[in-house]
């Protein structure tokens, strides 16, 4: 069931991304000042948005894990955090390339950039916690708490971006933002295409973790059985034994 969902989502992602390539490089006009480099924005924006959605999904799954004490929610949360980290990393990389051409520096302490990096650090800490050896149920509880608390910081991330003066471009502001209509349509199409990519990656990782957990339980069962059964008699290798 999960396998077929992944296949459909990956197929839709591949097709929509192919259409987006045409929209980005053939249909959307080239920005007058930045030129071709501006095209990176069509990747940067969806990565940032779906990265954030990924962390929200992880938070919801962690809440369910704490309420229902079901391991599958913990595994889903872990998958969402990992996918979110990938998207957040790519957001920072693409943002940095954009910044180099737009502002002349690879990194500037703009509030939105800074807070994106803080989010990255928060969830990197969460992944570090997950890598520590401890009983699974304890690990699930602790990681769930950190994931939830980490996501509670996200409103402050957005507040800080709005409250403080920022050199970050406003894309979809209340007064229409700074985008041409064709550019806006392309950006929205890219956001939709990246949804399928995000969903595919999330489900693939979730399936991997489910299979890994199942494999672990089978191995433990086998080991337990082997301990219960009497040891089989082995042939003597040497006559003297």
């Amino acid at each position: 069931m999960l396998h077929s969902k992944i296949a459909i989502s990956a197929l839709l992602g591949g097709l929509s991304l192919a259409i987006c390539q045409w929209l980005v490089f053939a249909w959307a006009p080239e920005e007058k000042v930045m030129g071709l480099v501006q095209k990176i924005f069509y990747m940067h924006l969806p990565l940032a948005w779906w990265g954030l959605v990924s962390f929200a999904t992880a938070c919801a799954a962690s809440l369910l894990c704490l309420i229902r004490h079901d391991r599958k929610y913990d595994l889903f949360s872990a998958s969402a955090v990992e996918t979110g980290m990938l998207f957040c990393t790519l957001t920072l990389v693409t943002g940095s390339i954009w910044g180099r051409h737009s502002w002349g520096v690879w990194w500037t302490w703009d509030p939105r950039l800074t807070t994106a990096l803080i989010l990255w650090f928060i969830y990197a800490g969460c992944m570090a916690l997950r890598s520590i050896p401890m009983p699974e149920h304890r690990k699930a509880s602790l990681c769930s708490v950190v994931t939830i608390v980490g996501f509670l910081d996200v409103p402050l991330v957005f507040l800080s971006a709005r409250l403080w003066r920022s050199i970050h471009p406003s894309v979809f502001a209340a007064n229409g933002g700074g985008l041409d209509m064709q550019m806006a349509v392309t950006a929205i199409a890219c956001v939709a295409a990246f949804f399928f990519i995000w969903l595919s990656l999330l489900l693939i990782r979730y399936r991997q973790l489910l299979l890994s957990a199942r494999l672990d339980s089978i191995i433990f069962e086998q080991l337990f059985k082997a301990e219960q059964e009497p040891a089989p008699k082995t042939k003597k290798l040497y006559a003297s034994e």
Binding site: T115, G125, V149, L152
Partner: protein, 226 residues
């Protein structure tokens, strides 16, 4: 719940201030940070108020990690966690008691860090020092709430300090930004106060979030599981 929290707070404070080993370690680390940073200055140089405020809060943040590790390690060392959990009170009273104790210890440590910032980093008290004081109160409350929640997280783990620092410091950033700015207002001769209320609002929002999160999530972190 409050009675149990006050009892835990009293017990922790008594333990820390009578033995004092953990407190001395936290104080020394904070002082060392401020002093070592002062070595980057040339003779007669004065650090900018914002950088000095950042150093003060960085020292406080490291002190917070050591303080909350020390507070939660006390029960672990004596295998008394289960005893604490069997208190006829909600488990949140442990969180509240440890947070209150941690806040008092942190404030006591900051009483030493403040003169160190003036002496080693060449700072002068400005006209709006009350804003800095408000920042310290709000900041300490947020640090206590978050430290008490996440301090319990590293209970029984090897490398507790580094684990807590990795998880806690990124979460503290919004609070640290706010309180650093508020502290710098008190050190500058003529600060730009137009955003002062926004900074206070942000720090209060952080405190509210972590006070709420502590109350709700603490039982999942601090329980009988090893």
């Amino acid at each position: 719940m409050l009675t149990a929290a006050i009892a835990i707070c009293k017990k922790d404070l008594l333990m820390v201030f009578t033995h004092g080993a953990g407190l001395a370690q936290a104080l020394l680390l904070g002082l060392l940070l401020v002093f070592l940073f002062s070595l980057s200055l040339n003779a007669g140089d004065r650090l900018s108020p914002q950088a000095a405020a950042a150093m003060f809060w960085l020292a406080s943040a490291f002190c917070q990690v050591l303080v909350f590790n020390m507070l939660y390690a006390a029960e672990e060392a004596e295998k008394a966690r289960l005893g604490l959990l069997m208190l006829p009170a909600p488990v949140q009273s442990v969180w509240l008691g440890k947070a209150a104790a941690g806040m008092v210890i942190l404030a006591a440590a900051q009483c030493v860090f403040i003169p160190a910032v003036f002496v080693f980093l060449g700072q002068k008290m400005g006209e709006f020092w009350t804003l800095s004081l408000a920042g310290i109160l709000i900041g300490d409350l947020g640090m206590a709430a978050s430290g008490s929640l996440l301090g319990a997280l590293s209970v029984g783990q090897s490398g507790r300090e580094s684990l807590l620092s990795i998880v806690l410091f990124p979460l503290l950033t919004p609070l640290l930004l706010s309180v650093v700015k508020l502290a710098s207002f008190g050190l500058e001769a003529d600060p730009m106060l137009e955003n002062a209320l926004r900074w206070i609002g942000l720090a209060v929002a952080f405190d509210s979030i972590f006070l709420g999160a502590g109350l709700v999530l603490f039982p999942f972190v601090y329980n009988g599981e090893d």
